[in-house]
Amino acid sequence: MAYLAHQQNTRHRLPRRLGRIEYHALMSDSSSRTIPSPLVALAAWLLPGAGYWLLGQRSRALTVGITIIVLFVVGLLIGGVRVIEVPGYGDHGQPLVVTQDEESSYDGRRMVLEHTTEAGSVPPGANTAGWVMQVHPLDEIRNKPWYIAQILNGPINLLASWGSVVASRDNAQGHAIGARSHARTNELGVLYTAVAGMLNLLAIIDSGWRATQHQEEGQ
């Protein structure tokens, strides 16, 4: 009885805000910044971890960013920079061009046969339809599907793509500047760089979602 009386007195004395249940956003950190979620997602793509940094979650930003970048760089070290197979460019670092030949089929109909050739080795007089990324972009990306995951690493992957194209070109001796990896080293290099990109996709989605939660809390 005395306990109940004490409890009632305590309840009356408690400030009102303590009696209310407060729901926090899942996985939220102590930050009050309100930044549009597309901007946060763009920042997260431009530099892994930057989305969290914009939201004021510095330790999360550094952990995620450094881990993803290190994973990507280790992938390039394992397989060489040529593990990045850049759509639109061939094995010798030249742009891929679509050439067209007209032929007659067995029943007399005209057929157009298309071939993809590197720009440096197009036969003279061949009818070129243009760069493969302009003529058949989806087919070319479908031929190099790992690039979809790798591009999620952001501009660091664009830099590596440029390095891959340059390393594929022939030097004065007629050999490629950078060696192409095969078998397990290639698989591991591709796996590391692609997994880094997929992890950055998770970070992009999560930081964008957190930005939305911050906006809702701010309203």
Partner: protein, 79 residues
């Protein structure tokens, strides 16, 4: 060793063809996946080292178990 001395980082693939070496490359991948996943999932970053360690060990043990099962299966098929 001579392979490593001739290695040009980023231009050449790392010269690890030995079966005793390349499986160890699973470890950094498992650690990275665990750290990023738990950094996203955990409410506070203080939870991350502990939870990432647990999930790293789980991944590695799972891969070892898968390797053992596959090895036994292959031997059984050969026998």
């Amino acid at each position: 060793m001579s392979h490593l001395l001739a290695w040009t980082p980023f231009l050449d693939p790392i010269p690890i063809w030995s079966n005793a070496v390349w499986p160890w490359l699973l470890l950094p991948l498992a650690v990275a996946v665990s750290v990023v996943y738990k950094s996203i999932k955990c409410r506070t970053m203080r939870q991350v080292p502990g939870e990432a360690s647990v999930i790293t060990i789980t991944i590695v043990l799972g891969m070892v178990a898968a390797a053992v099962v596959l090895a036994v299966f292959v031997r059984a098929m050969e026998w």
